[in-house]
């Protein structure tokens, strides 16, 4: 899994390439925590290149979302493929995180 972070108009866009499973989830966790420790609480996780997310990955996202909220920011998600989108919908995560269909929409919203 590869992670790329870009600052676009004050929003930290985290692009994740590959699978987020129990092996790679700590890497994402570390990356998100680093941003939050720098008070970068507006985070957009871009899933355009993400093929799968496991429960470990979901936990990382949820934990980061809670921290972002406590810092006055928000963690949002965008550009999910159908598999990841289904995981979010069925597991209940789509009801607690704001989900956008693409990056532009997310940055505008």
């Amino acid at each position: 899994m590869n992670i790329e972070v870009n600052d676009i108009d004050g929003t930290q866009v985290v692009s994740i390439d590959g699978k987020i499973d129990s092996n790679s989830a700590p890497l994402l966790d570390a990356q998100l925590n680093e941003l939050l420790s720098q008070s970068q609480a507006n985070i957009l996780t871009d899933f355009e290149l993400t093929t799968f997310i496991s429960s470990a990955g979901l936990r990382v996202l949820l934990s980061a979302a809670k921290k972002a909220k406590s810092q006055g920011g928000e963690l949002t998600v965008c550009s999910m493929n159908p598999t990841v989108s289904e995981i979010f919908a069925i597991s209940g995560f789509a009801t607690i995180l704001r989900v956008f269909s693409n990056r532009e929409e997310a940055l505008a919203g």
Binding site: S55, L58, R59, L62, A89, I90, G92, T95, I96
Partner: protein, 438 residues
């Protein structure tokens, strides 16, 4: 959308009125034959009811025509219509015997009454056993009434020699004479025969012999019918109890702990109280698929009401889901999902309550309308918590294959699942943060 058909059909409530009118006619006509005074006083009633019965019969003929009943049934109704017309109004005969015979033709209305009573629209909400009991009771009552009236008619045809001769001074009223006659009928039909009322004339001897001969068969038929009806009422319960006893007996022989056997016994008891052991799928197997789905949807209206996913689904998806769901009734302490299980189904709570156990503690409760098993199924991971029933709970399952099939056919199903989760989403995801995957 409900498709409406418009066959000629007498409405259910009107059928009740029709059945009552025909029954009144069947009571009044023999009384009119037996008592001249009754006939003269209630002639208006008899002819009014005659008119109503004839109109009802005409409707029945049309109804049979439009419902494509067999030809013999339709012909029978027409014959009945002709036979029960008040022919005496068209003839000027003064012969009492011929007039009586014409009046007696009206008793054929017993067939008309039975046709009305057999109609499923008349007593649609009652069980077949209640219908049978009702028909049996009405028919027995009317047959006893007919015989009692003929017995009275015979008595009055020769009051000095007949059974009534010695009673003219004591039983002077219409009611007491009728009651004695009815009493004679019942004692004779039931083969009790006290012998306090006996025939006096030749005609009475002949009639009494006939009643005795027929009476034995009628009595046997009545007893057999009652036995069969009562037997049917208990048959299913006995069968169910037998099965429960067989299972608990087997568990005893296997030396299982008493508390587990008690749970099995309680389960059987509660299942009977709740479902009377009706197996819906088995019962509806004979129906064509479209009708089966419609019946299932109507039966599941409570389930639809209780499960948000179904409430929000379109008719097509709801029908598909209802045809795929498997139902189960679980007792308290039952593990519906175990920690470490590779779950392959989404489980919906229709009724009852279940606790979520994680690391030896209760971390949440699932209630009516909630569902679980979705996370482990979609993530293809083992459950990290257990779900145990707190009370008797009604659940339904959607297996992975059926979930995949419905999702492939109707992609909007995923959004429905998401919407159904909206109320519980935060609770379930917070549990996931703790490490709970259900």
């Amino acid at each position: 959308m409900q498709v409406k058909l418009h066959p000629i059909r007498i409405a259910g409530k009107l059928k009740w009125v029709a059945a009552c009118l025909v029954a009144i006619s069947l009571v009044a006509v023999p009384l009119g034959l037996a008592f001249d005074t009754f006939a003269s006083k209630s002639l208006w009633l008899i002819y009014t009811v005659d008119l109503a019965c004839t109109l009802i019969l005409i409707l029945q003929v049309f109804e049979a025509q439009h419902q494509s009943k067999p030809a013999w049934q339709r012909a029978g109704l027409v014959v009945l219509l002709i036979a029960t017309l008040p022919w005496e109004l068209f003839f000027t005969s003064n012969s009492a015997e011929s007039m009586s015979l014409v009046w007696l033709l009206r008793l054929l209305r017993l067939i008309q009454l039975n046709l009305l009573l057999r109609d499923q629209h008349l007593v649609a909400s009652r069980s077949p056993l209640v219908k049978r009991l009702m028909r049996l009771g009405i028919n027995i009552g009317l047959v006893c009434h007919f015989i009692a009236c003929v017995w009275l008619l015979l008595g009055w045809s020769d009051p000095l020699a007949s059974w009534i001769a010695g009673r003219l001074t004591t039983e002077t009223t219409f009611t007491s004479q009728y009651i004695r006659s009815l009493y004679w009928t019942v004692t004779t039909l039931t083969t009790v025969g006290y012998g306090d009322i006996t025939p006096g004339t030749d005609a009475e001897y002949l009639f009494a012999s006939g009643v005795m001969l027929v009476g034995a068969s009628v009595y046997a038929y009545v007893i057999a019918s009652f036995a069969s009806i009562v037997g049917q009422i208990n048959a299913r319960h006995s069968q169910f109890q037998q099965r429960a006893q067989f299972v608990t007996g087997f568990l005893h022989r296997q030396g299982l702990p008493e508390h587990l056997i008690a749970r099995v016994e309680n389960y059987y008891h509660n299942r009977w109280v709740r479902y009377e052991d009706y197996n819906q799928d088995e019962l509806l197997r004979d129906l064509p698929q479209a009708l089966e789905l419609e019946v299932k949807a109507a039966l599941a209206r409570q389930v639809v009401e209780n499960v948000p996913l179904l409430r929000g689904a379109s008719q097509v998806i709801r029908d598909r889901l209802l045809s795929k769901f498997l139902f189960e009734y679980v007792d308290p302490q039952s593990f519906v999902l175990r920690e470490g299980e590779r779950n392959q189904r989404i489980i919906f709570v229709i009724d009852g309550a279940l606790d979520i156990y994680f690391e030896g503690e209760i971390v949440g409760r699932l209630k009516q309308g909630d569902y679980f098993g979705n996370q482990s199924l979609i993530l293809d991971e083992a459950s990290t918590a257990s779900v145990v029933a707190v009370s008797y709970s009604e659940l339904m399952y959607l297996n992975r294959n059926d979930y995949e099939e419905i999702k492939a056919l109707y992609p909007e199903f995923v959004d429905l699942m998401k919407d159904a989760m909206s109320e519980r989403g935060e609770i379930m995801t917070n549990l996931m943060l703790k490490g709970v995957i259900l």
